[in-house]
């Protein structure tokens, strides 16, 4: 209702000359038809997305402020409980970043870490989701597996490193195994939680419509648990990175975790920060991938 009034606003000057001299009337009629529609769209778009734009603007400012503080702390080598004497400045990190993206070795580190995440996490999802669904549906299986899972679950993935090295013939396999373990339990626990929250009335509704056990599982239990399964996948992905980096730092020869640790040993302080930032960005990217997949799989939840 109010938007046309607002749209006209920028062109306030236009109608006034039209009244003054009726001669160029057609010239006056044309501009209000085309530009305002664009203006109206732009304005409406702005008004609808104001909250989002505001969040982006504040986010950018906040990131810039973080970089500025970091820059100031390192250039003035502040020592106040923590020591910034050896901490690389953002510019130094940027310099080593520009060098690293042309270095095939750095790219190999990143690629290998991504590959380990892909295999470890995918295996965890392929095993934990069906297991959670089955445990949630069949009491006996739940009763058998749950106690074992509960004992193993609190063991951090890093504590598994020595055992993993003994269990698996190659280093690569043991690192993937640790990544797998890290993401396995969050996925399992959330899938189980999702199954326990399935509304029994929906199951009854399906039964009244002639659904048998298998259909109820596929058409009710599984989609009803999906939101929690995706919560589990998101959490699992976070823990997968934590576990991977720990494993790489201890027993790797490649990988972004190894890169970061190696940089410390080689006294290349800028590379430490570069490795850390790379881990952060990769973790963020993989979480966004999962969120995107979730929106694709659960169209009824997008608003």
């Amino acid at each position: 209702m109010s938007s046309p009034a607002l749209v006209r606003h920028p062109e306030d000057g236009m109608p006034a000359p039209a009244i003054a001299e009726p001669g160029p009337a057609p010239a006056v009629i044309t501009p209000p038809t085309t530009p305002p529609s664009f203006g109206a769209h732009a304005l409406r778009w702005y008004r609808l997305n104001r909250a989002g734009l505001r969040a982006i603007a504040i986010g950018v400012i906040s990131l810039l402020a973080f970089l500025l503080v970091w820059h100031l702390l390192t250039t003035f080598r502040v020592v106040f409980f923590v020591r910034f004497t050896n901490v690389p400045s953002p510019l130094a990190v940027y310099a080593s970043f520009t060098k690293a993206i042309h270095d095939p070795k750095f790219l190999l580190h990143v690629l290998l870490s991504c590959r380990r995440i892909f295999f470890g996490f995918s295996l965890a999802a392929i095993v934990a989701v069906p297991l959670g669904l089955i445990m949630g549906r069949f009491k006996l299986i739940h009763e058998i597996i749950f106690p074992v899972a509960e004992v193993l679950r609190p063991i951090p993935a890093i504590a598994w490193v020595p055992m993993a090295i003994m269990l698996w013939p190659t280093n690569e396999q043991s690192i993937v195994y640790i990544t797998f373990l890290g993401s396995f339990f969050p996925i399992l626990v959330n899938t189980l939680h999702g199954m326990s929250l399935v509304d029994p009335v929906l199951v009854r509704a399906a039964q009244c419509l002639g659904a048998r056990e298998r259909s109820i599982f596929r058409e009710v239990y599984f989609p009803a648990s999906l939101p929690h399964i995706f919560t589990g996948l998101t959490v699992g992905m976070g823990v997968a990175w934590v576990s991977l980096i720990a494993a790489e730092m201890i027993s790797g020869q490649y990988g972004i975790g190894y890169f970061t640790w190696e940089a410390y040993s080689l006294v290349q302080y800028a590379d430490i920060a570069l490795g850390m930032i790379a881990i952060g960005v990769l973790g963020l990217g993989s979480s966004m991938l999962i969120r995107g997949a979730g929106q694709l799989v659960m169209p009824w939840r997008t608003r």
Partner: protein
């Protein structure tokens, strides 16, 4: 569609010597005792009663979700052994599948029966059209109002062409205006399909307005206290709810339920006790009076 609309009347519900009890630490608790009800083919029957009297329990037993402790439930002479598509059910909480669109919800029963996709899509569209929901076929239930959700719920239950329709306080969560419209929609569909309906409600007006017959249940453990035929002419109009006939039926049912509700609230609240609510304190504090 044709198989759903034109069909010989069937769906004779018979509940005989029915009782149902739950196990608890103190021993078995009777929810429903010594109950007989029946619904003739094509008849609209309601069950009213005070809350907790076991009317939903009875309906769930007819649906096949609960097994009677004693007695038997049959539909057209066949014993009820579990839920089936022959007995469509509509729930108070709508219970639409949130991950399915309106049309997919309606299609569900047909899909379970193995009907090919194109055929069931057509059937679902026709049914949605009858309920005035064609424009919403691609919406997810979350986006619909309560009245629309329940229309989808009813259409979904009817899509498989069940012999009987069971409704468990289906309009309990709707506002008064929507409720009246839904009652008319339900009456309309029932008359077209000539299906037997067993309807559970605590709303006396609703029960009288919709039904051919009303069963009134006692307080827990529930049993049938009275069976009241509703001889009001059809089609029934909203204005009928002001007629003396309607009001007389209403008064009768009201007093029956009131007795049972008082019993259900613990018995010690007699009419005498209710008078306490009218005592004037005349400015004195409660402590003074006591």
């Amino acid at each position: 569609m044709s198989e759903i609309v034109v069909r010989a009347p069937q769906g004779h519900i018979e509940v005989k010597n029915f009782s149902l009890s739950y196990d608890s630490i103190e021993g078995p608790v009777e929810a429903v005792t010594e109950t007989q009800i029946h619904v003739k083919p094509g008849e609209f029957v309601s069950i009213v009663g005070p809350s907790g009297c076991g009317k939903s329990t009875l309906l769930n037993a007819v649906a096949g979700f609960l097994k009677p402790t004693t007695g038997i439930v049959t539909v057209d002479g066949e014993k009820v052994n579990g839920p089936s598509a022959e007995r469509g059910m509509v729930f108070q909480q709508y219970s639409l599948f949130p991950w399915k669109t309106v049309r997919e919800n309606v299609e569900f029963g047909l899909k379970m029966r193995g009907m090919p996709r194109s055929q069931r899509e057509r059937a679902a569209r026709t049914l949605l059209g009858l309920a005035g929901l064609e424009a919403f076929e691609k919406h997810y239930p979350e986006k619909l109002s309560g009245g629309m959700k329940q229309r989808v719920g009813i259409v979904r239950a009817l899509a498989t062409g069940p012999k009987v329709l069971l409704l468990d306080e289906p309009f309990g969560a709707l506002d008064a205006q929507t409720r009246v419209i839904m009652q008319q929609i339900l009456t309309n569909m029932w008359q077209r399909l000539k299906i037997s309906v067993l309807f559970v409600t605590h709303d006396i007006d609703e029960a009288i307005f919709l039904s051919d017959r009303v069963y009134c249940m006692t307080a827990r453990p529930g049993s049938i206290k009275a069976e009241i035929p509703i001889p009001l002419e059809r089609p029934r109009q909203q204005s009928m709810m002001m007629s003396s006939e309607f009001l007389a039926l209403r008064r009768g049912l009201m007093s029956l339920i009131r007795e049972e509700s008082l019993k259900a609230m613990g018995g010690e609240i007699t009419d005498l006790g209710m008078q306490g609510l009218n005592i004037e304190l005349h400015g004195a504090s409660l402590a003074d009076v006591i």
